[in-house]
């Protein structure tokens, strides 16, 4: 399929540009890596030795290709800050490894929540003939959209954690120990990420449904004796979902961004917290990999959305 191969080439190109940009950006940062690892008290011999170990004496282009080649082969480099023990430095892959499932599960649960809340809500809203309900939903969604996810996280902590005591704030359990408890704990941060986005999606779906409901084929379906329910779920919803899928795809980037902040609120050991702490301690190899990784996820999701689009609506074929 020509279209698919073209898309894949674009995906690889983008990753190349982002990785090069990330690499260059961190080369021009002021401050010497060796001094920041060893401190200012180190002997010149030790400094030279470490410089050689890290390969800092090579020209930048060679270093980029060695780094990028390593990443492709699964070698993500070593962290400047975290150490396994006194003599061994921490590989970035190990550092990220057990944090990845946390962030990915959080994003997945958020996405499920968004879809589960927004689609029924959007349909209900588009169908409502009740002016009061219509206005109420308008006010509620508009307000929900204005709440930043970290504040919503604090509200969720307070309401569900302290007033209703549904969960213990800070009582995170690792997925290796208790998968059920892990997923249950993630439900609350996911709620904080999902609610504003769900409100946004519901508004969007309602608009899309109302436009579709005015289409000719709806009148045809009704005149053939189709019930309202059948018209909505059999005909309109499918067509109205098209722009919503694109919208959801765009929201994924926001979910990832939201999880960076919300992980901080609920003290979840995900890659968002690692990113923040690595940025403040200037642990550049970790930051580089995380940026590359998040970019990859975002671009890959756009790619999937594009394909999904074609599956849902066969009328679209490569233009």
């Amino acid at each position: 399929m020509k279209y698919l191969s073209k898309k894949i080439v674009t995906l690889i190109m983008t990753l190349f540009v982002v990785s090069a940009a990330a690499f260059i950006a961190f080369q021009i940062i002021p401050g010497d890596v060796v001094t920041s690892i060893l401190g200012t008290e180190a002997t010149p011999e030790r400094e030279a030795q470490l410089r050689e170990e890290l390969g800092l004496n090579d020209p930048p282009v060679a270093r980029y290709f060695r780094w990028a080649g390593g990443v492709l082969m699964g070698d993500l480099g070593i962290s400047y800050r975290y150490a396994k023990n006194m003599n061994e430095m921490m590989p970035v892959a190990e550092l990220i490894g057990d944090k990845l499932p946390v962030t990915l599960s959080l994003a997945a649960i958020s996405l499920v929540l968004i879809v589960a809340v927004s689609i029924p809500l959007g349909v209900l809203w588009a169908r409502s003939r009740n002016k009061v309900l219509d206005a109420a939903l308008g006010v509620i969604t508009q307000t929900t959209m204005a709440i930043p996810s970290f504040f919503l996280g604090i509200i969720v902590t307070y309401l569900f954690g302290m007033v209703f005591k549904c969960f213990v704030p800070g009582g995170y359990v690792s997925y290796e120990k208790d998968i059920k408890g892990f997923l249950f704990y993630l439900l609350f941060p996911a709620l904080a990420i999902a609610l504003p986005k769900a409100a946004m999606t519901a508004r969007f779906l309602r608009g899309s449904l109302l436009t579709e409901l005015r289409a000719d084929y709806v009148r045809t379906a009704r005149s053939k004796g189709c019930g309202e329910r059948r018209v909505m779920y059999g005909h309109v919803l499918r067509n109205a979902m098209m722009p919503v899928i694109t919208f959801l795809g765009m929201i994924i980037a926001e979910i990832v961004a939201g999880s960076i902040v919300v992980e901080q609120v609920f003290s979840l050991p995900g890659i968002g917290r690692l990113l923040i702490s690595s940025i403040s301690t200037r642990d550049l190899p970790v930051v580089e990999i995380l940026i590359l990784y998040i970019t990859f996820v975002v671009i890959f999701v756009y790619f999937l959305v594009d394909i999904l689009y074609r599956v849902v609506d066969p009328r679209i074929s490569g233009k």
């Binding site: 940062i29 930043p148 970290f150 604090i154 902590t157 960076i260 923040i276 998040i294």
Partner: protein, 285 residues
């Protein structure tokens, strides 16, 4: 044929009528009231706050909201209302600078690429595409990690992050208008390029541009408070709504109002500006 009978003349009159008075709608009124209050608080906060934002009082730690302290006091006994007033000022200042920076760049780059097109246009569009697809707070984090924290770097990083959306909007408007009849006539009359760009086209895109400015302003507020919450935005001695929220999180059980005050203020600001932009959008319809 008398002038007022020709269709074009009637159209003109309708235009004049609409310009004569603003057609108020409920979004516009609600938005103006909400943002007006915020701007008022911010301006008053520059010159006067009920209490000093730094004076501590051991006897009044965690005082609940009352007539004496509208929003209560925090863990040091500082008046939260005064600090929120200062915080609003900081937030609005930063967001204004961010929008001014990215909006100006958007007008310049968008006008040139949209009007002239060509290879530069292609390249700029690919770059903005790439940045647009990226989660904005992540990009700002990257810029901050390269340049270091602090208020100035926060403004620069958010300014860079919001540039692409302005460039795209201005560009598409310039593409729409560059082949309009009145522009080709102006060109025939020998009007210079710069004059066409900024005197003939620019005023006509403002209705679209203002809406995107307000949306950008909202995003800037959310991003600023988010980054200050994470501790990589506005730094401590300065009051900031996001920073207050992260301080307050540790005292949720003892003083829930400490978190509610700055949080609800952010919601209020964002809601006000989104209502305002909705109202302006309806105005031009």
């Amino acid at each position: 044929m008398p002038r007022d009978k020709c269709p074009a003349g009637e159209e003109n009159r309708a235009d004049v009528k609409r310009k004569g008075g603003i057609k108020w709608n409920k979004y516009l009124i609600a938005g103006l009231c909400m943002t007006g209050l915020i701007v008022l608080l911010a301006i008053v906060g520059i010159f006067w706050t009920p209490y000093s934002t730094t004076s501590m009082s051991a006897s009044e730690r965690f005082a609940a909201p009352s007539l004496r302290h509208f929003f209560g006091t925090d863990n040091f006994g500082r008046d939260i209302f005064s600090r929120v007033m200062k915080g609003i000022g900081t937030t609005i200042l930063i967001s204004t600078l961010v929008v001014a920076m990215s909006g100006t760049a958007g007008i310049l780059v968008g006008a040139l690429t949209g009007y002239f097109g060509g290879v530069v246009d292609e390249v700029v569009m690919r770059v903005t595409d790439a940045i647009n697809g990226f989660p904005s707070i992540l990009l700002a984090l990257v810029v901050i990690s390269v340049m270091g924290t602090g208020q100035r770097n926060l403004v620069i990083s958010l300014g860079i992050v919001f540039m692409p959306s302005f460039i795209r909007i201005v560009r598409s408007e310039f593409i729409r208008l560059r082949d309009a009849d009145y522009i080709s006539r102006a060109r025939l009359m020998g009007v210079g390029r710069i004059r066409i760009l900024f005197v003939h086209i620019l005023p006509n895109i403002f209705s679209t541009f203002w809406v995107s400015v307000m949306i950008g302003f909202n995003n800037a507020i959310l991003a600023e408070s988010g980054m200050s919450y994470l501790g990589i935005g506005v730094q401590p001695p300065q009051a900031s709504l996001g920073k207050m929220l992260s301080d307050a999180q540790g005292y949720l059980t003892t003083a829930p109002w400490y978190a509610l005050a700055p949080g609800l203020t952010i919601v209020w600001i964002v809601l006000g500006f989104s209502l305002l932009s909705e109202g302006v959008q309806r105005l031009s319809k």
